[in-house]
């Protein structure tokens, strides 16, 4: 682990002409900038200052925007067991994403990610470990896998497949997620399965899905081609850095108007305001009201895009229609709880939104704590026809601040607003998520929903809430892959107490070196109502690995294996292996394949990651990142899938990928829902689709239409009442403040290994922190640099797995009334940053400091329709504990506000 002791260096080697060059992309955020890796043996000579003497072909000192190597961009790694220099820098030659070699701080420092025992990466897991006599001790792969498989099998046979819980990353490369899901869903066939960021396997944006919008339909360049861009629940400068600097920022200079919904003013928001944009500084959880009020004002003024609505929105009959079993068998209808969301078309929606008192502008503005003029202003920018009668082009992007604060209704509301504005499916008029982590999921099995014991009212079963299932003691074997589970879920201190009870405090612990006795004691733990934990990761995480895991499998990762992944515009790249994985660390697909074989499952005989990718490809067909045709082209050329993708370098290719059998060309898809593509005959011809899809090509509905039963958009209602009882109950009482949390540019989708192991990042953010408005701080005697405690005795927690029988059983007030909810306490400490950049009455804290996760203060209660946590919703009191050292020393942290422009 790193300390915050950072000493800047004043030199860095230049890669020599003889350096080998490989391409990859950044491991962290969804944007996935392209990088080049320059590798040359230690002692073989570094590059010189003249262009002819270095691999960049640039004279040094170089000028602005030219190649350069910062000291932190150099590292020494083992390649084929020989020490090699690597310089890892943004690719100056890439045609997409980070053109000009732009990069964030996270990517800029990524050379430091490589394992090097001389750096803070020295604690990488390098060998399987087993907790014997309370201490994690090295064991062989054979022993670790055998014990895990024998206990796992025992649990499935004696307690059922749902006792085998799998909690896994959803993104860490296509090969790994395919292997994990094939194992967990197809073979173990457990409903006790979910991904790192949600307690149950559900969609992140139910409103998008039900409207028919793909989360990642737009291309990055689309974000800069609107007249008005609305951004909800994020500052892309902080968390989609390069989309902002390469696409949104230049567009703002060209005159694009930007509207941002965010309780906090960060650098991007400040820049937008400086350039004349609109900041809607609403209170947490009130987006639905504000968006609804904007929509209503647009309709009242008659500014809607009537042509679009007539052509592309489902009417009453279409809304009820469907092929085969029809709409009644779609998640949309099942979740719709019989008319709560469904409309008979846009005029019906108009009637509804105009009759709901909560969407009156004055009311919405009052609850949201904003100036009502901002609602009218936003409506005007988004929809008021131009003087010549032409329509403004409006695009809408959302992210977690928005959809993790009233998951279903917010995403419904924004889908409807988009549709009213004619947004979605045309250049300059797109709607989507900006994204979080990269898109590396490829399912190798389908979720066995019918095995889930959780059921909402009506007939439909819902994906199992694995947190509550575990909390109730039903998970006997927890298989945790690349996630902390505990910190990353809401009400995490309650979950941690439960883990302690089920794992550490169970009397059946390994107190023997004898294999059979080890297996017997773990089986006895499971049989006695306790829980066995196995954990795959690159570092030993505390507490899941360090305190709870009985067996730890060391994983190999970025740069240590050839992997495929897509980014937030569906751009697929090969992330090349360029150095040896440390010790005995193995990629997750390999670990899973070995475990699966021990469990007696067939179909896991892969020799390398390309084998996995080639098997996975056919399951990608029809999906947004369909890459099957790359394999078809590769095989036609006598190559492997990975070899073919490597040829695309950092440019990659956007899914769904088509293969033109005539020209032998692979052609990517610029945007989904591309309703105007049919008019572009040349593009259709290039795709090889002029006579329909040929050979193995598949055209899915979302390619040129929307993802609903008819290919048109479902316009939906978004009742505040589903959420308002919770919002009102939660609203700050007495001395409480809203507790909001999120991430920052310096630590965004990189916290899993970056923040703790980059001295510079550690120096900038050495401890947990919280932003507080100067008025709130003054009242409590808090100054910047003070150590404070945030605490609450109103952390709500659903106690058990709930069966809904009557309508409304999943509604918060109903759960409360029926005794399904506990009130728990939680507290975390942090360093205070007093800044007017956060809204008065709102605290904004770091989302996950591993030592003290803010999620502990989040309500452990899921959206009653979708099953997602609303991570951003909490309340807290705050008090000063004393002055921290950062108040009086200058070496680390900074209390300067982020909105200085």
């Amino acid at each position: 682990m790193s300390t915050d002791y950072y000493l800047p260096e004043d030199s860095a080697p230049l890669p020599p002409v003889h350096a080998e060059v490989m391409t990859t992309a950044c491991d962290y955020c969804v944007v996935a900038c392209g990088y080049k890796v320059y590798r040359w043996p230690v002692g073989s000579g570094d590059g010189g200052l003249q262009a002819s003497q270095n691999a960049f072909g640039v004279d040094f000192p170089s000028s602005a925007l030219q190649s350069w190597v910062a000291p932190a961009q150099h590292n020494i790694v083992m390649h084929k067991q020989m020490p090699h220099n690597v310089v890892i820098v943004p690719d100056k030659d890439t045609k997409y994403v980070n053109t000009n070699g732009d990069s964030s701080m996270r990517g800029g420092l990524i050379a430091q990610k490589c394992y090097n025992p001389k750096t803070p990466t020295r604690d990488r897991l390098t060998t399987p470990l087993m907790r014997i006599f309370g201490t994690l001790q090295p064991v062989s792969w054979e022993m670790a896998l055998d014990v895990a498989a024998q206990v796992g099998r025992h649990v499935i046979e004696n307690h059922g497949a749902n006792a085998y819980g799998v909690k896994t990353f959803s993104y860490q490369y296509i090969e790994n997620t395919y292997a994990v899901t094939k194992y967990a869903l197809r073979h173990v066939n457990t409903a006790n399965f979910t991904f790192h960021d949600t307690p149950s396997d559900v969609t992140s944006t139910p409103g998008f899905r039900d409207a028919g919008f793909d989360n990642f339909g737009p291309s990055y360049e689309d974000w800069g081609s609107a007249d008005t861009l609305m951004i909800c629940g994020t500052d892309p400068y902080e968390t989609k850095t390069i989309i902002f600097t390469q696409h949104i920022m230049p567009a703002i200079y060209r005159g694009m108007k930007v509207i941002m919904l965010n309780p906090r003013e960060t650098a991007g928001v400040a820049f937008v305001k400086k350039m004349g944009g609109l900041h809607i500084d609403l209170l947490p959880g009130t987006d639905n009201l504000v968006v609804g009020a904007i929509t209503r004002h647009i309709l009242e003024q008659g500014w809607e895009d009537t042509e679009w609505l007539k052509k592309w929105v489902n009417n009453k009959w279409e809304s009820n229609s469907g092929f085969g079993q029809g709409t009644r068998n779609t998640p949309w209808q099942w979740r719709s709880t019989w008319g709560k969301f469904q409309t008979k078309g846009w005029e019906d929606y108009k009637k509804w939104v105009s009759s709901q008192p909560e969407f009156e502008a004055e009311y919405a503005a009052g609850v949201a704590g904003i100036d009502v003029a901002k609602i009218y202003q936003a409506a005007e920018w988004m929809a008021k026809p131009k003087a010549d009668g032409g329509r403004v082009k409006t695009s809408i992007g959302i992210e977690k601040g928005f959809y993790w604060s009233n998951n279903t209704a917010n995403t419904n509301a924004i889908s409807s607003l988009a549709t009213i504005c004619g947004t979605g499916g045309r250049p300059g008029q797109v709607v989507g998520r900006f994204g979080g982590h990269q898109r590396g999921g490829q399912s190798g099995g389908s979720y066995p929903r019918n095995k889930s014991p959780e059921k909402v009212e009506g007939r439909r079963r819902r994906s199992l809430d694995t947190d509550r299932w575990t909390y109730s003691g039903h998970t006997r074997f927890a298989h945790v892959i690349g996630t902390t589970w505990i910190q990353s879920m809401c009400g995490s201190q309650g979950l941690q107490r439960k883990f302690t009870e089920l794992v550490s405090n169970n009397p059946n612990q390994i107190m023997s070196y004898d294999r059979q006795e080890i297996i017997d004691s773990l089986k006895a733990r499971a049989d006695s109502g306790g829980m066995v934990v196995i954990n795959q990761d690159i570092y030993l995480r505390d507490p899941i690995g360090a305190r709870f895991a009985d067996i730890v499998f060391p994983a190999a990762t970025w740069g240590e294996e050839d992997f495929m992944r897509a980014n937030g515009e569906r751009r697929l790249r090969l992330y090349q292996k360029f150095y040896d994985a440390p010790g005995n660390a193995k990629p997750d697909w390999w670990i899973i394949s070995q475990l699966a074989k021990q469990m007696g499952y067939d179909g896991f005989d892969w020799k390398n990651s390309n084998d996995v990718a080639e098997e996975a490809s056919r399951f990608s067909r029809g999906s947004r990142k369909a890459f099957h045709m790359i394999k078809i082209a590769a095989h036609a050329e006598g190559k492997t899938l990975h070899e073919k993708l490597r040829e695309f370098g950092t440019d990659g290719i956007q899914g769904p990928v088509f293969y033109n059998y005539e020209t032998k060309e692979l052609v990517g898809t610029k945007r989904l829902h591309d309703t105007e593509l049919e008019h572009d005959k040349a593009a259709i011809k290039r795709l090889g689709l002029d006579n329909g899809p040929q050979g193995a090509n598949i055209v899915s509905k979302k390619f040129s239409h929307f993802n609903s039963q008819t290919g048109k958009i479902n316009i939906q209602k978004h009742p505040w009442g589903l959420f308002s009882d919770f919002w009102e109950w939660l609203s700050p009482k007495d001395d409480e403040l809203w507790f909001n949390n999120g991430r920052i540019n310096e630590i965004w989708q990189s916290g899993f290994d970056d923040v703790e192991r980059r001295p510079y990042t550690r120096q900038r953010w050495p401890e947990n922190w919280v932003e507080i408005h100067p008025d709130d701080a003054a009242k409590r005697g808090i100054e910047s640099g003070d150590q404070v405690m945030m605490y609450s005795d109103r952390v709500v927690q659903v106690k058990d797995t709930v069966l809904g029988v009557d309508s409304g059983h999943f509604q918060f007030s109903e759960l409360m009334k029926r005794g399904h909810i506990d009130l728990q306490k939680a507290a975390v400490t942090a360093i205070a940053i007093v800044t007017p950049a956060v809204k008065k009455g709102v605290l904004y804290a770091n989302m996950i400091d591993m030592r003290q996760p803010s999620n502990a203060l989040g309500a452990r209660i899921v959206d009653n329709i979708s099953g997602n946590y609303n991570f951003k919703m909490g309340v807290s009191k705050i008090k000063k504990l004393g002055a921290s050292k950062y108040k009086s020393e200058f070496r680390s942290m900074s209390f300067a506000p982020r909105n200085i422009v």
Binding site: L7, W68, A72, Y760, S894, P897
Partner: protein
């Protein structure tokens, strides 16, 4: 006795002098680090606490970096950065020195330790930070960089406040001799160079 422990012995004011000492520790490490890779060494006089009871003259090895007169205390005005080149007049050596109106800073010199100097190029992609000095309340920053909006905290050794750069702004190490302020070294690599002393 090391320079650092000597310093500690002789400093009384916890909030300021110990802080100053920490900066000097960094600086000393920095100077020693430099000696490993550069052959030419020179010896200069370093004045750590000019004009105070703790003032002490000592010999320190400053390796490779020139000692250059960059400003006069009597001529410096609050919030008015003065441009100079350091460590040479080659490409990318543009730097600034500024007196920050009594707000103390890490590595600051002068009676109020409010005088600091930094290279003027953003460490992200070399954007010019000229003209971006700002005083906001008690905060002192350079930025936003016109290229990608990075901002740096001048009170805290040029650390990134918000933005894309992956190292602090290179800080020019200063010493004061009477009325004269000298640049004597640098912490951090200047954008575009592979070594601060090669241009």
């Amino acid at each position: 006795m090391s320079i650092f422990s000597k310093l500690k012995d002789q400093t009384k004011d916890k909030d300021s002098a110990e802080e100053h000492g920490k900066c000097m520790l960094s600086r000393r490490n920095f100077l020693m680090y430099g000696s490993a890779s550069l052959a030419a060494a020179s010896t200069v006089t370093v004045t750590l606490f000019p004009g105070t009871a703790q003032a002490e003259q000592m010999k320190a090895r400053v390796v490779g970096y020139p000692r250059k007169l960059v400003a006069k205390l009597s001529e410096m005005k609050d919030h008015q950065p003065i441009a100079f080149n350091y460590p040479d007049d080659g490409p990318n050596s543009q730097a600034m020195i500024v007196k920050m109106a009594g707000v103390q800073a890490g590595g600051g010199v002068g009676a109020a330790r409010d005088i600091v100097a930094f290279n003027y190029l953003c460490t992200h992609q070399g954007g010019p930070l000229v003209g971006s000095y700002k005083a906001t309340g008690e905060h002192r920053t350079l930025g936003q960089c016109p290229l990608h909006l990075s901002t740096f905290d001048l009170r805290r050794h040029g650390i990134i406040v918000s933005g894309q750069a992956y190292q602090s702004l290179p800080q020019v190490l200063l010493e004061v001799d009477g009325d004269e302020v000298y640049a004597v070294g640098m912490m951090g690599l200047i954008f575009g160079r592979n070594s601060n002393m090669s241009s």
